[in-house]
Symmetry: C2
Subunit: 99 residues, 2 copies
């Protein structure tokens, strides 16, 4: 058993974590945009998952100063490097959904 694999699969499989990462593959999103793109997730759970993903080095938080401070979230290099895995999993899921 590979403990690195185990850690990774449980991290991205945690409720909504995989969905958040997938939503960010198209570029940075504000909290509200992220919430819209993953329907059914509460604010609290979204914050919690974002913190976990930040801690794991997959997502980074960007604060844009201004009259109205805005916060956006984007994938780090480590997060982006998961894209092929996510794409392959998506293709697998689509294929077997049709089958």
């Amino acid at each position: 058993m590979c403990r690195h694999y185990h850690g990774a699969v449980e991290l991205i499989g945690r409720r909504w974590a995989g969905a958040i990462l997938y939503a960010l593959t198209d570029g940075p999103l504000h909290f509200a945009e992220l919430k819209e793109s993953v329907p059914g997730m509460s604010d609290r759970l979204l914050s919690c998952r974002l913190k976990e993903l930040e801690k794991a080095g997959l997502v980074q938080r960007e604060v844009q100063p201004g009259n109205r401070v805005r916060v956006s979230y984007e994938l780090t290099d480590k997060g982006h490097s998961l894209e092929p895995v996510m794409a392959e999993l998506r293709d697998w899921a689509r294929h077997w959904h049709r089958a």
Copy 2:
């Protein structure tokens, strides 16, 4: 958001599910062998995950009749077709562990 991807990532990410699938990539295992290969998992949780994975069509249960009935678990074609995804995730995890 692709709901097929979402379903797949949450299924294999459920606690220990990814680890069970990974352990079965080398061939069928009996319940006790599976339990040994995924240390720290209770009998009850292992049974529960195996039932979920059977229901999702990833694992099949094989009963070998005889003086002492033995049950083994193995990946279905659908389960085997997840192997490239698991391998890629393992490589990703190893790479970033070293980094």
